[in-house]
């Protein structure tokens, strides 16, 4: 339609040219039109490209976090060393520290290599031992303590390899970079090659990344998201149980009962302003009020949950009000007409009809809260936490981490292995967010009613 207007009108009437050929001015105007259109396409292309680049960068860096390299070690679990008293009592056995297990493995590993016919020339036993993660003896210890009958047997144990060996198999570490790296030598990498050919070194899917707690700065290979996922889940529970009822109650009051007066106005303005307050300010509020004033424990999910509740409330209130507004007045009138009280008409008729909309809004609010990082940094969720919090309600008051904060935590560490972990954690976070948003869309599609 546009082209038609541009082609027909000016060319013939103003400058007296032919209808069939465009004069200079028309051509210029049409070119400007096409250019302008192109700008729009470019803008959309750039935004979509940015999105794709973002997602692919995260996937590229992060997928490898879900795979981990393990080395096969045949360990003779010597009862003399691991259970000196010989009574198989786990309490007694736990007196043997990880160092005892570490020594066992350090001896067993080179021996196992020789048995498999892999030459270990030009590399010291210490270097060979250093190819295993420092976390491996601790894991072996846990396994033995859980099952004391293993003592005295020779077991085939798949031990975590260090982050550098893992990085070599994933292509992050190369011979050239190993030359410059004090934590790994080319000899170790060559040995890793040989081990891989002898099927003593393999990379497999890494459930531990999702279930294990965080690990220290030097052990990226053992760092997991277990505590962070539990912490985030606890906070979401708190947000759900506080923000949903409070938000819905507030919306019902404002939408159905509130008289038009000063107070109502103030509340409305307040809610719309709260929605735009930077999230970090909520963190300051949490620190000043919940931790310093009320004395709640720092880095506990309860504080995080409360802060996120306050942050999510405006979102939930705004969407709930929209959902309530969408219920036609005839429903209320009908309820009132058959003798229901105002309260009954709202709770028995309006609220159930608005429920899908409310739930959709709540899920979106929760998704927003799940990804929020800044306020949690201020209330101490950055702390290094290795112990799983216990079950709710007590667990709400124990230190935990949160998924987005764990990502930030990973990025502040020096070892390059943590870049992969951080991106992997983002993938987990994005998967959760995707699921929540899909649920919200599904709810909307399934239950949305047009009146």
């Amino acid at each position: 339609m546009t082209d038609a207007t541009a082609n027909n009108v000016p060319a013939s009437s103003v400058h007296g040219g032919s209808l069939l050929s465009q004069n200079v001015r028309t051509r210029r105007r049409n070119a400007a039109e096409r250019r302008f259109r192109l700008y729009g396409v470019i803008a959309i292309g750039l935004s979509v490209a940015a999105l794709l680049l973002l997602v692919s960068s995260v996937l590229n860096n992060g997928v490898s976090a879900f795979f981990q390299t393990y080395a096969k070690v045949e360990v003779m679990l010597d009862p003399e060393v691991l259970d000196p008293k010989g009574n198989r009592d786990p309490a007694e056995m736990s007196k043997v520290t990880t160092i005892g297990y570490g020594n066992l493995m350090k001896d067993a590993f080179p021996a196992a290599l020789q048995k498999a016919g892999i030459s270990v020339e030009g590399i010291t036993d210490k270097e060979i031992g250093d190819m295993l993660s420092k976390e491996a003896p601790a894991q072996l210890r846990n396994r033995v303590l859980a099952d004391p009958d293993l003592l005295g047997q020779t077991i085939e144990y798949w031990a975590l390899a260090t982050g550098r060996i893992d990085g070599y198999l994933k292509g992050r570490v190369t011979m050239a970079s190993a030359e410059l790296d004090s934590n790994v030598s080319p000899a170790q990498l060559r040995l890793a090659d040989q081990m891989r050919e002898a099927d003593m070194l393999e990379t497999r899917f890494n459930w531990d990344f999702i279930t294990f707690p965080d690990a220290s700065e030097l052990r990226p290979e053992a760092a997991g998201l277990g505590v962070a996922i539990i912490g985030s889940a606890y906070m979401m529970l708190i947000v759900l149980f506080l923000a949903l009822p409070i938000g819905v109650a507030a919306s019902i009051y404002l939408e159905e009962f509130a008289p038009q007066n000063r107070l109502t106005d103030i509340i409305e303005v307040n809610i719309s302003n709260l929605a735009a307050v930077p999230s970090i300010v909520f963190g300051i509020l949490g620190l000043a009020v919940f931790i310093n004033y009320a004395g709640l424990p720092a880095s506990a999910p309860i504080v995080g949950g409360l802060v996120l509740t306050l942050m999510t409330l405006p979102t939930i209130i705004i969407s709930t009000r929209a959902a309530l507004k969408a219920v036609p007045p005839s429903i209320r009138d009908a309820a009132l007409g058959v003798g229901a009280s105002k309260m009954q008409s709202v709770f028995h008729h309006v609220l159930p009809l608005a429920l899908p909309g409310i739930l959709t809004g709540t899920i979106i609010g929760l998704a927003q809260a799940l990804g929020e990082t800044a306020p949690l940094l201020l209330i101490g969720m950055v702390a290094f936490v290795r112990d799983y919090p216990s079950w709710p309600v007590d667990g709400f008051f124990e230190p935990a981490s949160a998924l987005p904060v764990q990502v930030y935590n990973f990025t502040t560490r020096g070892d390059p292995g943590f870049v992969e972990r951080a991106s992997g954690a983002i993938i987990v976070l994005l998967v959760f967010l995707l699921c929540m948003n899909l649920l919200a869309i599904w709810l909307r599609r399934k239950f949305e009613r047009r009146w």
């Binding site: 302008f36 973002l54 735009a276 990082t373």
Partner: protein
Amino acid sequence: MSIGLLLLIVVGLGVIGYFLGRRRALASVSGDPRRLHSLPSQYGQSVFLFTVVPALLLLVVWLMAQPQVIDRQVRGMVAADGSEGAALSLKMADVTRISEGLDALVARSAVTEEQLDSMRADFSDIRGRLAEVGVAVGADVEPDVFQAAKARRSLVGTSALMMSLAVLALAAAGFAFALNRIGPEFRARNVSEAVVMALLIGSSLVAILTTLGIVLSLISETLRFFQVYPAREFFLSGVWNPQFRGGSDLGIWPLIWGTLYVSFIALLVAVPIGLLAAIYLAEYADKRVRGVAKPMIEILAGIPTIVYGLFALITVGPLLRDYFAQPLGLGNSSSSVMTAGLVMGVMLIPFVSSLSDDIINAVPQAMRDGSYGLGATKSESIRQVILPAALPGVVGAVLLAASRAIGETMIVVMGAGAAAKLSLNPFEAMTTVTVKIVSQLTGDTEFASPETLVAFALGLTLFVFTLGLNVLALYIVRKYREQYE
């Protein structure tokens, strides 16, 4: 008794009350509900509400007030030797830590209550025992601190016990009172609806309380900051150099400069792209393109900022450094104003585009038709008719985006760097207000030094800035809407 159990008991009592109330109401009219004033379930409801609501309110109030009361009593014990100010608050922190450590010791049954009673700071190795449960105490524990810690512990214990008793007593009293009132003449519906109404009003006051909490905590801590640090220096000095031993320079200007610079670059990216995308989607795109492109752009708004931060840190930062900053000799830092600005710009695109989209769609069709009728091409109508008409709204959208940019934290924490500088080079690392709030408040902080308190002053500045921008933006958008309604 743990709070969870207490909650469970109170709610359980309420549920029992519901059924008893219902039954009692029916019994009072020998099973003929028509003779009751209200529905039987409303009698039950009134008992439930009277049992649960006052008890829970008491619980919340008690939990909020308890730390203050205990703190005041313990403070008296420690302050006996005349210590004041920072020394006193250090001591109080010790008391809190030690008493929590003692709790942990008892919980692990490393010490019994009797042993604890006879423990004295000058004889037993408190420090070593506390280290067992992961509580690190700086110096050896002074006797008065230890006594205060023990006193605090027993106060906390007594208070928890009294709280449980009081809450249960109140729940039982409400239960008995409400149950007793039930009779055919009792207006249960009015009563329970009045309580529910009060709850609804209370919930909507949470928003006001939150704002109040934010404003009060920011202002009171900021005043404390200005007591230990001159306000003139804070507002006028151009140097930001916190020293944790004291003698810091805490001028806000380098931070404000960094914030504005990053936000400016972000808007430079977001406004043209967002606006053009919105124009294309509103005016040119057919339904199919719109159905794909619009959600794609909106996904950008749903991605958490930590993801953008990581993107800046591991992808954009090194890219800019290797291909722009280093070859051009402009610097060799991967975190820079440019990195943070670009990534933040991407984050802001959906804000600008979806708001502008709404605004452009709100321009009346008659204006477009008039312009076409005069022979303008589509782009001419957009540039000369639609955009000028939509301008106030677009300005509002840009202001909202600017307020987002100023308050954004994770992208700048991970992308902009930590050095406070007043420089023009966009490839240099600079820092922002939000970065400094995070860095001054994370870690083990002592809440009396100007170096931590400054974070509250920064927070207040940020709050005032963003609030001002928002109010202005909402005002403009509202004015604009009225124009065409």
